[in-house]
């Protein structure tokens, strides 16, 4: 523990402002008096009725206390405490401690050793989600120790405090009134249960700050991962401005987010979502969007795992489509390749993976795996408005091949009498050749993948800082290729949308609307911002 004890800052001279950088765990701004929480090492009390009996009582009391705390909560929060309760009630967790007591160890020492071993084991795990469970066991350890020592009781963290500690236990988090407050942790993890709770409750939090020295007051900037100790007048003024701006922006977005997006002249702009995995939609109201413009299916194709079966894919697509409540859902066939290898699917040893066997090229080279995905999509289409989008298409022959495979699989499903629908089939426009030749494709729709289109047009890699200046979607050359695609859509009377990062770049919005785009597909986080930007434009 690397925390100096807090004091009221009653020195004669004003403390100097210090800025610490950690890891963003929950976005938002908060400021207030610092509440420093040190580790409580309860003094061993002489147990009544023997150590084993004392430990049994302490575990029972801790579980009862958690149950009382959980009673006032619901959903995820109750589940997190339920996990601790289930663990405390499981004899397998305390077995080692009772064995040690039988061998003559005092109750508190025995319990601490048993739990510390368990925690170390979790913290050594490679999976960050398992690793983060160590904090839950530390929470259980300390609660039982407090009961053993007779010092149990809630720590009283005043509302509006900036809580400063090494880490924070989920059960403590759930017992504090955080309105206006924030959390600054010397250690901790953005993957912890507490970080998840803080995000869902909107409590700003920064982890991994290292040493936090004594301070009277602090500002937590959760999004930036910054904590300012004893902020000076300048920082406080900037904070007030930041808070006011985010309140204004939030109010504006909240007023707009469930309404259709309109320019001031009444032009309707469709706003769709980009989804990377089903969890992205958790807690999201489908009323905020006009549908889903891009479902990336790579979450089903995991490195080191067997390829997903038809039923598993069908279940995943249906679940995502059901969320949309009848709105159109565009699902992209698997888009992996050289730089994103998947065992049993991708080619190896390419010298230039970005120009190699990826996207549709790879799917066509592995038709047996591709057919499974097309069948699952056609089956999901029986119940939902599913559209299928092909990634990294270059020439019309590739599209025709994919369409033929889709038709064959739909016919096979018909022979089996399974519910299916031949979904509309469109292309992602990411390759300059596809943009220039867009009108020659038999596609049912076009979706501009601006990230790859930019990198291939400008010959500047997306992940190279050295050429970042050239990787500009707003460059006239890239805009012209997009305009060609929009024109092809008009000529052929099929829809055109854009689903790359540029769709959410509000600085580019006038140019995108200017070339005729009327449909943007963006990350769920960006919907409010994009709708507010649309409402701020008079006309195209």
């Amino acid at each position: 523990m690397d925390l100096a004890p807090g004091h009221g800052g009653n020195g004669s001279s004003l403390p100097v402002e210090r800025r610490l950088t950690g890891r963003p765990a929950s976005p938002g701004l908060a400021a207030g008096p610092v509440f420093v929480d040190g580790p409580e090492i309860p003094a061993a009390a002489a147990p009544i009725g023997g150590d084993a009996e004392a430990l049994r009582r302490a575990i029972g009391a801790a579980a009862a206390e958690l149950a009382a705390l959980a009673a006032g909560l619901g959903g995820e929060e109750a589940d997190i405490l339920g996990f601790q309760i289930a663990m405390l009630e499981d004899g397998a967790l305390s077995e080692g401690a009772f064995d040690a007591i039988s061998a003559g160890m005092p109750a508190d020492h025995a319990w601490r050793s048993a739990l510390d071993a368990e925690i170390l084991d979790y913290e050594a795990s490679e999976d960050p989600t398992f690793r983060a469970r160590g904090a839950d066991f530390a929470d259980m350890r300390d609660r039982v120790l407090a009961h053993l020592a007779g010092t149990a009781g809630r720590r009283n963290v005043p509302a509006g405090s900036i809580y400063v500690a090494e880490d924070i236990a989920p059960s403590l988090f759930l017992s504090v009134d955080w309105s206006g407050g924030g959390i600054a942790l010397a250690a901790g993890s953005p993957f912890s249960h507490v970080a998840m709770l803080a995000r869902s409750r909107g409590v700003p939090m920064v982890t991994g700050l290292g040493r936090i020295d004594a301070a009277a007051a602090a500002i937590v900037d959760g999004a930036a991962g910054e904590v300012t100790l004893d902020p000076g007048a300048g920082s406080l003024a900037a904070l007030a401005e930041g808070l006011a701006a985010s309140r204004r922006a939030k109010a504006g977005e909240d007023a707009l987010i469930r309404r259709p997006a309109l320019l001031q002249d009444g032009t309707r702009i469709e706003v769709l979502l980009n989804v990377g995995r089903p969890e992205d939609l958790e807690g999201l109201d489908p009323g905020v969007c006009d549908g889903i413009g891009l479902v990336r299916t790579e979450f089903l194709f995991r490195p080191g795992h067997p390829l997903p079966g038809e039923d598993e894919q069908l279940a995943a697509y249906s679940r995502i489509a059901a969320w949309a409540e009848g709105r159109p859902v565009t699902i992209r066939t698997v888009d992996v390749g050289g730089d994103k290898p998947v065992e049993g699917l991708t080619a190896e040893g390419e010298t230039n993976p970005f120009l190699g066997l990826r996207g549709l090229r790879l799917s066509l080279s592995r038709p047996e795996a591709f057919r499974v995905q097309l069948r699952a999509l056609a089956r999901a289409g029986a119940e939902h408005d599913i559209r299928v989008m092909l990634p990294m298409v270059t020439v019309p022959a590739e599209f025709d091949q994919a369409a033929a495979l889709l038709d064959e699989e739909v016919a096979a499903l018909a022979r089996l009498g399974l519910p299916r629908r031949r979904p509309p089939l469109g292309i992602m426009v990411e390759v300059p050749a596809a943009a220039l030749g867009a009108a020659r494709f038999g596609a049912d729709f076009y979706s501009i993948g601006s990230n790859d289109l930019t990198q291939y047009t400008m010959a500047a890699a997306r992940d190279s800082a050295a050429v970042a200046g050239l990787n500009d979607t707003g460059d006239p050359a890239v805009l012209e290729l997009m305009a060609r695609t929009v024109a092809a859509g008009r000529t052929r009377h099929v829809p055109v949308s854009i689903c790359g990062d540029a769709a959410a770049d509000t600085g580019l919005l006038p140019q995108l609307l200017g070339i005729g785009l009327r449909c943007l597909s963006v990350a769920p986080m960006a919907v409010g911002r994009v709708k507010a930007a649309i409402a701020g434009l008079a006309h195209v």
Binding site: I80, G82, D90, A92, R133, H193, H305, A315
Partner: protein
């Protein structure tokens, strides 16, 4: 249960997002406890077998997402138990 020869066996693939983590492990053990039969699981067909009624042991098994669980049930309601455990896993532990 070192000897599972006379147990009813089945497999189930973990298709939920996170494997047998906190919430799924609680649901998994609660359901297992609702049956009289002994229920055990393993990451291999031939064991070692782990008590499906102990949340601490289930969590210690560190079952990752995508893993295939082998299940073994022995007792008066073994058949229902096995079917129910498989259904819970297939339904992603009721995660939305």
């Amino acid at each position: 249960m070192a000897d599972t020869d006379d147990a009813l066996k089945g497999t189930a693939e973990l298709i939920n997002a996170v494997g047998l983590h906190a919430r799924p492990s609680v649901k998994f053990t609660q359901l297992a406890k609702s049956f009289l039969s002994t229920i055990e699981f393993s990451l291999q067909a031939d064991g070692p077998w782990i008590d499906a009624k102990s949340p601490a042991k289930v969590m210690r098994a560190r079952v990752p997402k995508g893993a295939v669980l082998h299940l073994a049930a022995r007792g008066p309601d073994a058949e229902e138990a096995l079917a129910a455990m498989q259904a819970l896993i297939a339904a992603r532990f009721g995660e939305e």
